[in-house]
Protein backbone atom coordinates (compact mmCIF):
# COMPACT_ATOMS: atom_id res chain seq x y z
CA UNK A 1 0.00 0.00 0.00
CA UNK A 2 1.13 3.55 -0.65
CA UNK A 3 2.40 5.44 2.37
CA UNK A 4 2.90 8.71 0.54
CA UNK A 5 0.62 10.20 -2.09
CA UNK A 6 1.87 13.23 -3.99
CA UNK A 7 -0.27 16.00 -5.39
CA UNK A 8 -0.45 17.19 -8.11
CA UNK A 9 0.51 14.30 -10.38
CA UNK A 10 1.96 16.74 -12.90
CA UNK A 11 2.99 20.38 -12.72
CA UNK A 12 4.20 22.69 -15.48
CA UNK A 13 5.70 26.11 -14.65
CA UNK A 14 7.88 28.78 -16.22
CA UNK A 15 11.52 29.11 -15.27
CA UNK A 16 11.91 31.43 -12.30
CA UNK A 17 8.54 30.56 -10.77
CA UNK A 18 8.12 28.59 -7.56
CA UNK A 19 6.89 24.99 -7.56
CA UNK A 20 4.96 23.43 -4.69
CA UNK A 21 4.30 19.73 -4.34
CA UNK A 22 2.29 18.09 -1.60
CA UNK A 23 2.45 14.69 0.01
CA UNK A 24 -0.04 12.95 2.28
CA UNK A 25 0.70 9.82 4.26
CA UNK A 26 -1.35 7.35 6.23
CA UNK A 27 0.43 6.18 9.37
CA UNK A 28 2.67 7.72 12.02
CA UNK A 29 6.19 8.35 10.80
CA UNK A 30 9.63 8.98 12.28
CA UNK A 31 10.71 11.00 9.29
CA UNK A 32 9.69 11.85 5.75
CA UNK A 33 12.07 12.08 2.83
CA UNK A 34 11.92 13.70 -0.59
CA UNK A 35 13.69 12.31 -3.63
CA UNK A 36 14.17 13.50 -7.22
CA UNK A 37 14.32 11.26 -10.28
CA UNK A 38 15.48 12.43 -13.70
CA UNK A 39 14.11 10.61 -16.76
CA UNK A 40 13.61 7.20 -15.18
CA UNK A 41 17.08 7.00 -13.70
CA UNK A 42 18.17 6.57 -10.07
CA UNK A 43 16.68 8.58 -7.24
CA UNK A 44 18.59 11.42 -5.65
CA UNK A 45 17.94 12.20 -1.99
CA UNK A 46 16.93 15.83 -1.49
CA UNK A 47 15.98 16.32 2.12
CA UNK A 48 14.84 14.48 5.25
CA UNK A 49 12.53 16.04 7.83
CA UNK A 50 11.97 14.40 11.20
CA UNK A 51 8.61 14.09 12.90
CA UNK A 52 9.56 16.71 15.53
CA UNK A 53 10.49 19.29 12.88
CA UNK A 54 8.01 21.62 11.19
CA UNK A 55 10.17 23.14 8.49
CA UNK A 56 13.53 22.54 6.92
CA UNK A 57 15.55 24.35 4.27
CA UNK A 58 18.24 23.23 1.85
CA UNK A 59 19.33 25.73 -0.77
CA UNK A 60 16.28 26.51 -2.92
CA UNK A 61 14.26 23.75 -1.25
CA UNK A 62 11.87 24.23 1.64
CA UNK A 63 10.04 21.30 3.20
CA UNK A 64 7.25 21.52 5.74
CA UNK A 65 5.71 18.76 7.80
CA UNK A 66 2.33 18.78 9.52
CA UNK A 67 2.01 15.59 11.54
CA UNK A 68 -1.53 16.46 12.67
CA UNK A 69 -2.67 16.50 9.05
CA UNK A 70 -0.24 13.77 7.99
CA UNK A 71 1.02 15.94 5.17
CA UNK A 72 4.21 17.48 3.86
CA UNK A 73 5.04 19.96 1.14
CA UNK A 74 8.13 20.59 -0.96
CA UNK A 75 8.71 24.09 -2.30
CA UNK A 76 11.30 24.75 -4.98
CA UNK A 77 11.96 28.46 -5.33
CA UNK A 78 13.22 30.23 -8.46
CA UNK A 79 12.91 27.07 -10.54
CA UNK A 80 15.33 26.23 -13.33
CA UNK A 81 14.99 24.03 -16.39
CA UNK A 82 17.34 21.57 -14.67
CA UNK A 83 14.71 21.05 -11.95
CA UNK A 84 12.57 19.19 -14.50
CA UNK A 85 12.16 15.75 -12.93
CA UNK A 86 9.79 13.55 -10.94
CA UNK A 87 9.65 14.19 -7.22
CA UNK A 88 8.72 11.53 -4.67
CA UNK A 89 8.01 11.59 -0.99
CA UNK A 90 8.86 8.48 0.99
CA UNK A 91 8.53 7.36 4.58
CA UNK A 92 10.01 4.44 6.49
CA UNK A 93 7.44 1.72 7.10
CA UNK A 94 7.11 -1.89 8.13
CA UNK A 95 8.55 -3.64 11.16
CA UNK A 96 11.83 -1.98 12.05
CA UNK A 97 11.14 0.78 9.52
CA UNK A 98 13.73 -0.70 7.18
CA UNK A 99 11.80 -0.10 3.99
CA UNK A 100 10.84 3.16 2.32
CA UNK A 101 7.31 3.41 0.97
CA UNK A 102 6.99 5.84 -1.93
CA UNK A 103 4.11 7.67 -3.50
CA UNK A 104 3.53 7.82 -7.25
CA UNK A 105 5.36 11.12 -7.57
CA UNK A 106 4.83 14.56 -9.04
CA UNK A 107 6.19 15.14 -12.53
CA UNK A 108 7.55 18.68 -12.69
CA UNK A 109 8.25 20.40 -16.01
CA UNK A 110 10.07 23.74 -15.92
CA UNK A 111 9.75 25.59 -19.21
CA UNK A 112 12.73 27.82 -20.14
Amino acid sequence: SQQGEEDPQALSIQEGENATMNCSYKTSINNLQWYRQNSGRGLVHLILIRSNEREKHSGRLRVTLDTSKKSSSLLITASRAADTASYFCAAPSGAGSYQLTFGKGTKLSVIP
Binding site: N31, L43, V44, Q99, L100, F102
Partner: protein
Amino acid sequence: DAGVTQSPTHLIKTRGQQVTLRCSPKSGHDTVSWYQQALGQGPQFIFQYYEEEERQRGNFPDRFSGHQFPNYSSELNVNALLLGDSALYLCASRRDRGQETQYFGPGTRLLVL
Protein backbone atom coordinates in the same frame (compact mmCIF):
# COMPACT_ATOMS: atom_id res chain seq x y z
CA ASP B 1 34.23 7.96 -3.61
CA ALA B 2 32.08 5.80 -5.90
CA GLY B 3 28.38 5.85 -5.29
CA VAL B 4 26.05 2.91 -5.69
CA THR B 5 26.70 1.04 -8.91
CA GLN B 6 24.45 -1.42 -10.72
CA SER B 7 24.91 -3.77 -13.63
CA PRO B 8 23.82 -4.23 -16.27
CA THR B 9 22.16 -0.95 -17.24
CA HIS B 10 19.69 -2.57 -19.62
CA LEU B 11 18.54 -6.13 -20.14
CA ILE B 12 16.08 -7.88 -22.46
CA LYS B 13 14.74 -11.32 -21.55
CA THR B 14 11.87 -13.53 -22.65
CA ARG B 15 9.08 -14.95 -20.52
CA GLY B 16 10.13 -17.90 -18.39
CA GLN B 17 13.79 -16.98 -18.31
CA GLN B 18 15.80 -16.12 -15.23
CA VAL B 19 17.76 -12.92 -14.59
CA THR B 20 20.43 -11.77 -12.13
CA LEU B 21 21.01 -8.11 -11.36
CA ARG B 22 24.01 -6.85 -9.41
CA CYS B 23 24.63 -3.98 -7.03
CA SER B 24 27.71 -2.57 -5.30
CA PRO B 25 26.88 -0.30 -2.36
CA LYS B 26 28.42 3.05 -1.62
CA SER B 27 31.70 2.82 0.27
CA GLY B 28 31.11 2.39 4.00
CA HIS B 29 27.55 1.12 3.58
CA ASP B 30 26.52 -2.31 4.84
CA THR B 31 22.81 -2.44 4.05
CA VAL B 32 21.35 -2.98 0.59
CA SER B 33 17.72 -2.69 -0.46
CA TRP B 34 16.12 -3.53 -3.79
CA TYR B 35 13.14 -1.73 -5.32
CA GLN B 36 11.03 -2.31 -8.43
CA GLN B 37 9.69 0.70 -10.27
CA ALA B 38 7.07 0.17 -12.97
CA LEU B 39 6.58 2.89 -15.56
CA GLY B 40 4.76 5.88 -14.09
CA GLN B 41 4.81 4.49 -10.57
CA GLY B 42 6.85 5.01 -7.44
CA PRO B 43 9.45 2.43 -6.37
CA GLN B 44 8.12 -0.63 -4.56
CA PHE B 45 10.24 -2.29 -1.88
CA ILE B 46 11.32 -5.84 -2.71
CA PHE B 47 13.64 -6.72 0.19
CA GLN B 48 16.59 -5.57 2.27
CA TYR B 49 19.83 -7.37 3.07
CA TYR B 50 22.01 -6.83 6.11
CA GLU B 51 24.83 -9.05 7.39
CA GLU B 52 24.22 -11.37 4.43
CA GLU B 53 20.67 -12.09 5.56
CA GLU B 54 17.31 -10.98 4.19
CA ARG B 55 16.08 -8.68 6.94
CA GLN B 56 12.74 -7.53 5.55
CA ARG B 57 10.68 -8.42 2.51
CA GLY B 58 7.97 -6.57 0.66
CA ASN B 59 4.96 -8.04 -1.08
CA PHE B 60 6.81 -9.93 -3.81
CA PRO B 61 6.56 -13.63 -4.71
CA ASP B 62 9.29 -16.17 -4.02
CA ARG B 63 10.39 -15.87 -7.66
CA PHE B 64 12.29 -12.85 -6.38
CA SER B 65 15.31 -13.83 -4.34
CA GLY B 66 18.54 -12.19 -3.37
CA HIS B 67 21.92 -12.54 -1.85
CA GLN B 68 24.44 -10.36 -0.07
CA PHE B 69 28.13 -11.12 -0.17
CA PRO B 70 30.77 -10.53 2.55
CA ASN B 71 31.89 -7.35 0.73
CA TYR B 72 28.27 -6.07 1.08
CA SER B 73 27.53 -6.26 -2.65
CA SER B 74 24.23 -7.85 -3.56
CA GLU B 75 22.39 -9.71 -6.28
CA LEU B 76 18.71 -9.80 -7.17
CA ASN B 77 17.49 -12.94 -8.93
CA VAL B 78 14.14 -13.26 -10.63
CA ASN B 79 13.00 -16.68 -11.88
CA ALA B 80 10.27 -17.59 -14.36
CA LEU B 81 10.04 -14.05 -15.71
CA LEU B 82 6.63 -12.60 -16.50
CA LEU B 83 5.78 -9.71 -18.79
CA GLY B 84 4.78 -7.77 -15.67
CA ASP B 85 8.33 -7.99 -14.33
CA SER B 86 9.37 -5.38 -16.90
CA ALA B 87 10.50 -2.43 -14.80
CA LEU B 88 13.40 -0.37 -13.53
CA TYR B 89 15.14 -2.20 -10.69
CA LEU B 90 16.81 0.08 -8.20
CA CYS B 91 19.36 -0.76 -5.57
CA ALA B 92 19.83 1.46 -2.52
CA SER B 93 22.42 1.34 0.22
CA ARG B 94 23.01 2.94 3.61
CA ARG B 95 24.87 2.42 6.86
CA ASP B 96 22.76 0.42 9.23
CA ARG B 97 23.71 2.49 12.25
CA GLY B 98 23.11 6.21 12.43
CA GLN B 99 21.93 6.81 8.89
CA GLU B 100 18.38 7.01 7.62
CA THR B 101 19.08 8.29 4.12
CA GLN B 102 19.25 5.70 1.38
CA TYR B 103 21.49 6.26 -1.62
CA PHE B 104 20.20 4.89 -4.91
CA GLY B 105 22.03 3.50 -7.89
CA PRO B 106 21.14 4.36 -11.51
CA GLY B 107 19.03 1.22 -11.89
CA THR B 108 18.76 -1.68 -14.29
CA ARG B 109 15.99 -1.47 -16.86
CA LEU B 110 14.57 -4.93 -17.53
CA LEU B 111 12.32 -5.64 -20.48
CA VAL B 112 10.56 -9.00 -20.63
CA LEU B 113 9.19 -9.99 -24.04
